[in-house]
Amino acid sequence: MSKSKKKTEHSWTGPALELRNLSLRFDGHSALDNLTLTVDPGLSVAVVGPNGAGKSTLFNVLAGILSPGSGEVRIHGHLPAQHLCLAYVAQSSHVDWTFPVSVEEVVMMGRVGLLGLFRQPTRKDWDFVRESLSRVHLEDLGRRQISELSGGQKQRMFIARALAQEADPILLDEPLAGLDIPSQDQILNILDDLKRRGITVLFATHDLELASRFDRILLLNRRLIAFGDRDEVLTTNNLTEAYGGTMQVIETPEGRIMIGDSGGHHGHEPVGRHG
């Protein structure tokens, strides 16, 4: 069974990701409304939108964790369930950090699908794991228990796991949340490295300034507001449409400042600046 999955041929000439009329409803209200878009291989895409815009829901559908209510998802031309080359780096709070595994064991988990049932990892697989760890600069921490890592190191470990999986596309859900600036920069450098290697990346974030570093921006609020490069997407009209009453755009001598209420309980907080 797993053998046939492994051999699933990629159509690398076609889009990495294709959504056609994708919709999903939870409890009678719409979570994703009629999304249609294509992402070419090798592009890095920032997925932005207010809280509850459906960023995580979209990732869950792409990963095959949620099935779409209607419409279709294609990954390299295949349905999500047929594919094992997609990696999902979810928000890191979802695992038990006291779990008795080492960093390199977690990274090896990425290769479990490629290995298939009844096969144990070989020396080559472990080499691949070490190579993935050095790509994210964790080569010296492979034998640590996972609770000994800092927040940024934990995120990097999951990116290494995606690399060990030989994944494309890689979905990252708010990977910088709660990290200090140096840790954020390290992860952004790793993203640049992924880009050089031609790996398709989808990156969910609240930070519009950060989003403008990416090849494409997907502005989402249940439905697709805009998808394109930053100049096409980060317009006053689009942002007002996405953030509605919670978003204010102010022109100042320093540039355009966008003020948004992303949490609802913090009052107004700046979400980014675009000059």
């Binding site: 990963a63 594919h83 779990f99 008795p100 595994v101 990425g110 479990v112 049932l117 796991r161 999986q165």
Partner: protein, 292 residues
Amino acid sequence: MDMNPWGAMVDWLLEPLAFEFMQRGLLIAAVVGIICALVGCYIVLRGMAFLGDALAHAILPGLAVGYLVSAGDRGTLFWWALGTAVVTSVGIGALSRGVRIKQDTAIGIVFAGMFALGIALISTVRNYAVDLTHFLFGNVLGVTRADLWLTAGVGVAVLVIIFFFYKEFLVLSFDPTLVTTLRLPARTLEVLLSILMAVAIVVSLQTVGVALVVALLVTPAAAASLVTKNLRSMMFLASVIAAGSGVIGLYASYYLNVASGAAIVLTCTFFFILIWFGKSVMRKVKGLPVNN
């Protein structure tokens, strides 16, 4: 008799072994301990202790039916209990998926309902109290040679399954999301793990019984988890603690004349407290916070 303390010690250890039922009891207590410890590691890591306890209680009607149709033949009882455990664990999953019921609520409903059904069935037999006691608290001294072989065979099967599915079970326990994105057969793995849990519960009926089996599943694994950093060493240490507790508990039961199942479980609990306390002291010495 000489006054050599070592000689006295050896005599003390050898005396119970003169009885064949004690030899069989010690062997089965050790083997059951190892099976429960291995499966228990997954139960502890996945936080399924309540499900394990419920499953143990829910097999009582299966035992009762097996008991009624076979007049107490152990082999028949084993298969009835195993069948009930598998049906129940799959049933709990289906109940919590199908309708809007939280899993712990579904477990509670199935657990109590099945347990009551079991007691009702057994109570139709005259003189049921003795047999019910054996189901609830185990009867390690009534173990036959056939029981021993069956349990050893089950133990080997559990070891082989855990060996072959080690990496898949590791992913399932650590990160269920990854099971989906790696396109592993999640449902099949869940069912297989439930069957292992059912098997562990059924073999431990002989030593500790329905009421205490959860301790054998959870306590050695939890104790081992306090001082190990990877799953393999956790499984190894849990097995040593559980097998050791089986043997020590049975000796305690022989010399102190207490119920064997209770003695085994209390020994496990003692080891857990010892390790927990030792770890707390070590952390104090190193100046680390205790709860981390």
